[in-house]
Point group: C2
């Protein structure tokens, strides 16, 4: 039975990040820890009561293609209706169009609960959120007025329509054509991998589509962004005829079966009526607005599924009797076997590190948007952008490891689908792939982020981590040990970063060959820093009323320092010396 | 399209291990590199032509339960008929009963091809092989004569029947009862997770069953081994009535759908007629004979699936055009992108290290059985036993990583079942679980193996690796670099082993909490040593006729040294200092 970890999330928001300070801004004046807590408790109730029961039936049934459109798994329509009625689609959106102002950190935190309870369901609202975000920033006044209220209220959903068979990571290869027709366009082309691209939850869906206006230049600069409603909208706002867009099929996937991944045909007849968003040729730039927001959200999916896997594995380990204790008594619950405990602590500590990192990153965007201090805003914006590929890449890789370990804790039962542990492995597998693979995140991190500022933002973060770790004293030897381990890991990151910057300047192909090890290094180290900080906070409160909670925080950090963080030194060594082994290997020899 | 890596396997057998030396023994006098080569080429043809085409249909169709017994997926009966007719069930079995003498290293090598082409198929013969092995060693003369010829010829299959709902890793909890009936027994109880426990490939199946004779002591010492035919055998050898054993259901699993995992009921009526194997109360000991043989075989399944995943990913990476080269030209095959190349090299180098380790371990048992030198025999036997849990644990963990990376190379296409990459992830997931989870292997390694001889066998192996690495000189800087990295890793293993032995003596619960990190450390280091040795061998031949093959060997080892082997230092640190973080954490705080 899933229990949303409200106390864990509150610890990060209130005690680790101090998100309550955001109330100083005009836009978030109503924000308080109490408000956040009640939002989280409501979100938890919804996740536990409405979404979790859909997860396994949704996996078994899946979303199904029919000639009249995709039919979602039983219960999804009703759950979506309740989701929208509960105001969840409005959380974090612009209040001018019916949104409910909220920090991104809080929106991310609630999103974890949806992702844990039913990842397949969560993806629909996530993509709508991205489409809303893009329209808020790039849409015309008319587009905003026409579409935003109905998407923010949940009446309609939104999609991101990028990929074509020949254009995946490389969107410069997009071929879908946009033919001018008066002041509108008609779209012709086939798109694939469209998450929630067709469904029966709402009467309309707004597709945000990348296409190439006829005569536009080749490559990235010729790509524009269009908004294409599934059902045409009359000037009075009522729904008109079906647009010329049709779902041709739904993919058979390893997991997230209840999330329809669609092949969409635009313009099988007269062309799909479309409106240009923003200026022509800037489609990819706009799409990245959606994408970056989605990337943080996908990062949270990694540990959301990890948290669910952890809860199931822990429950199993506490109740499954097998084997003897070292004392000779038995059979004992397997949680008492050292290796099982080790697996659970690996899952728990990595999940907590991922959550802290993701919410920290989201909070940077809150500071960037709402801080009164210009320097804080600028630093936070750069830090949030730097952290986005790390959150997306590392937290999802960790989520895969954690879900796999969850199966392992169950032994043979983990391999049986009825147990539920295997579904998490299948579901979470997509998170390292969509919205840009881990490799793409690595390239973004060292190509775009480190390349753009020559390491300034990561350098500032490293300095801040060092300062913060050095400033803390503690009488608790476990907390001190964690601090030392974190300082060592930060030093390894610093040295690896300097080496990588030098390599990128002289032999970029060598640097690019360690982009993912570098990304993971960043994740392990920043996660370790946040857990060390958490342990120090906990040490000051461990003798108070929630002593077990805080004691657990210290133990989790101690485990991470002793058994997880050593990976950082290995990755630093790979970053400093591993790239040439790839660059000097001819592809023909593989 | 799968191509069995005959040349790779020949390199290990002929050039790395020098298996040709086995021909000096009377039992293997017919063995030669040429003979091995022709066996491998036939095995490759069978795997590519007969088994591989069954893999995806078998996954889709699965083995299905019916009231009259399990029906296998289309094509499996015919493939099994050909498998038996080709003599493959006899390979490595006792020639007195129709077997074909062969080194275990060669049997393992051929088994890789079956596992790559269709893991679900391969499991049936593997379990029969284990049952044959147990009967050869522990059966009575009558049992051998009655059963062995028909199992070795492939006329019948065999199973291992251990697990019960309450008795998984902890077989001391087995409850199945054996009630004496004259000089035979009648069995009553329910068994689960019986691989190929029922099927329609053969008219009979011999179950090797753990049960407790009425009145036997509790725990491990009360368990005996029984042979229970599915169909009773008349004194003249003809088949009689059905025995009282029935398949109640087939599990719905994450993968290996075509391998029926059965719930078997013994004694729903008058009791399943059974014969005791060997002495009463020694069942677990006998079962471990089968188990250890099976563990080596499961280790090879890890890299077998990894090899298949690598081949598919490489093919995709060579043909999928996406993105630009650093020179600006494009789109290029994605294999030219540094991170894709890194992923493929990770897959390839780990697969080769796993194969070398597994065949090296199998070869130890060949030396133990056939060497003329008593000291060589004793050392080899201890080394083979030491390596068995490492092969089982490490190669399967690596196989999981490799299969997951294979999906990742494919990007979004990897998540679509039709592509085939996802099936490998689902299939290989069982290998870290059955025949003892990785945690059980870790306990076996440090509890039984290190505990029994206080580190003598691992110490001898470490000394042998050091000697061998130091003795080689090479003018090739890549080969020298690999040697240095391997020496560093061996030193880390040495120090970690000494620390672990001290910890086990003083605080066993701390040592047990790093058993799996220690197991992995052994795998990475011994694998690294074997790749370093391979690179040195290759360097001497790289200017000859197969220059690309040998150049690839050097590059693969160089990559492993630079990007994989750094993990060894991290694991050594975990082994030396990580256990207390588990032991000192109260299970209630997880």
């Amino acid at each position: 039975m899933y229990r949303a970890p409200v106390r864990e999330v509150r610890f990060v928001l209130e005690e680790l990040l101090g998100a309550g300070s955001l109330a100083a801004s005009a836009e978030l004046a109503d924000y308080s820890d109490e408000l956040a807590r009640s939002v989280l408790e409501e979100a938890a109730r919804f996740a536990e009561g409405v979404l979790e029961p859909l997860n396994r039936p949704g996996d078994l049934h899946g979303a199904r293609w029919t000639p009249d459109g995709v039919v979602t798994a039983p219960g999804f329509r009703d759950a979506y209706r309740q989701f929208a009625a509960g105001g969840w689609t409005a959380l974090g959106a612009d209040p001018k169009f019916g949104g409910q102002p909220a920090p991104r950190a809080l929106v991310s935190a609630a999103g974890e609960f949806w992702g844990s309870a039913c990842l397949a369901f969560k993806l629909g609202p996530m993509l709508t959120h991205g489409a809303v975000h893009a329209l808020e920033l790039c849409g015309s006044a008319t587009q905003k007025e026409r579409y935003l209220p109905r998407m923010i209220s949940g009446e309609w959903t939104g999609t991101m329509v990028l990929t074509e068979p020949q254009a995946g990571s490389d969107l410069g290869l997009v071929r879908t054509r946009a033919v001018p027709d008066g002041d509108r366009y008609r779209l012709f082309g086939q798109k694939i991998f469209i998450t929630w691209g067709d469904h029966d939850l709402t009467p309309n869906t707004l597709h945000m589509v990348l296409a190439r206006i006829e005569g536009a230049p080749a490559g990235v600069r010729g790509i524009s962004l269009f908004v294409v409603p599934k059902v045409l909208v009359n000037p009075d706002g009522s729904l008109g005829a079906r647009n010329d867009v049709r779902c041709l099929s739904v993919e058979h996937k390893l997991g997230i079966h209840a999330s329809p991944t669609c092949v969409l045909a635009f313009g099988e007849k007269q062309g799909a009526l479309a409106d240009l968003v923003g200026e022509p040729g800037r489609g990819l730039e706009y799409m990245f607005i959606m994408m970056n927001s989605a990337r943080l959200s996908v990062g949270s999916e990694g540990y959301a599924v990890g948290e669910r896997a952890l809860q199931r594995a822990t429950e199993w380990a506490r109740t499954r009797l097998q084997g003897k204790a070292l004392s000779g008594a038995g059979p004992v619950p397997i949680i008492h076997h050292p290796d099982v405990k080790r697996m659970l602590l690996t899952m728990k500590s990595q999940t907590e590190a991922s959550r802290a990192l993701t919410l920290y990153a989201a909070f940077q965007f809150d500071l960037a948007a709402h801080s009164a201090d210009g320097k804080v805003r600028r630093t936070a914006q750069a830090r949030g952008e730097l952290l986005t590929p790390i959150v997306k890449g590392w937290c999802t890789e960790i989520g895969n490891e954690v879900a796999a370990t969850g199966v392992q804790v169950h032994g043979g039962m983990g391999y049986i689908e009825e147990t539920g542990a295997a579904q998490y492995v299948r579901d979470v597998r997509i998170t390292t792939i969509y919205e840009g693979t881990t490799g793409i995140q690595g390239n973004d991190l060292i190509g775009r982020k480190l390349g753009r500022d020559r390491g300034a933002a990561i350098g500032e973060l490293i300095a801040a981590m060092e300062r913060e770790l050095r400033s803390r004293e503690s009488g608790d030897p476990a907390v001190l040990g964690v601090r030392e381990a974190a300082l060592g890991a930060v030093a390894a990151l610093k040295s690896a970063t300097q080496a990588l910057l030098r390599t990128l300047a002289s032999r970029p192909e060598v640097g690019l060959a360690v982009s993912v090890p570098y990304l993971k290094l960043c994740g392990y180290v920043i996660g370790g820093w946040l857990l060390a900080k958490s342990a120090a906070i906990a040490a000051a409160k461990v003798d108070g009323p929630e002593s077990a909670f805080y004691a657990a925080k210290i133990r989790t950090a101690a485990f991470y320092a002793a058994q997880v963080l050593p990976t950082a030194a290995a990755l630093a060594r790979v970053v400093e010396g591993g790239g040439a082994s790839v660059a000097e290997t001819d592809a023909a020899l593989i």
